[in-house]
């Protein structure tokens, strides 16, 4: 069983954006969210075979896109 981790620094990624990304990818793998003072860490386990190589990167892209969208929405 291969485990992957994606670390999101709290100052750069909105927590709600990470939660949204986790919800979006929940059907493709078992995702656990851990956190400490600086980071939110998403642990990816049992990823579907077809997405195993890209799920961590896609999750990071999704979290960034959501963060950017929320930042822009807050400013407008």
């Amino acid at each position: 069983m291969s485990e992957q981790q994606v670390r999101f620094h709290r100052s750069l990624y909105a927590t709600e954006a990470i939660d949204e990304a986790v919800r979006a990818f929940a059907d493709l793998a078992t995702l656990k969210v851990l956190s400490n003072a600086e980071d939110v860490i998403v642990v990816i386990e049992h990823a579907h075979e077809s997405v195993r190589d890209v799920i961590a990167d896609e999750l990071a892209n999704f979290a960034l896109s959501e963060t950017v969208a929320r930042t822009r929405e807050a400013r407008s």
């Binding site: 100052s11 750069l12 892209n61 960034l64 950017v68």
Partner: protein, 159 residues
Amino acid sequence: MSEASAAEMADFEYELSERQIRFVIDERIYPRDAIYGATYIFVDRCYVLLDRAADEKVSVRLRTKAAASEAELEALAGELANELLNQVLRLRVGESTSRIREYYMARAFFASDQKSTIDQLLAELDAEEMAEAPLEVAVPWEKKASPSETEATPAEKTQ
């Protein structure tokens, strides 16, 4: 290109390795919104990950979705550098013109008692059309052709 190699493009340093480039960007020069805006543009072609390298320093990692040569990665680095500059300019223009935009918005909202130019033009056109309408096309056809108000047609007379 398995070994990471450092490259420098003017004052913009980046690190190349297999299918990816990594930059450390100074937030005092490129504000976070500019970094967000610039990196977001690459999301369709690359996997983007931001990290905090140090205080006011953001590490950006771009990993290409498809295989890329060293030249292509360098081109990507140049593109990101240009986009960062573009985003900074957009932000500054946005900030410097914010008062003007607020003024126009306020004027648009608080000048609602006056008819807009388009409304005025439409009203003028309506008035002109109504004034010179010898065929009374503005009157609904049903009213004009209602059997109770009109005479019978020649066909009806013969019956």
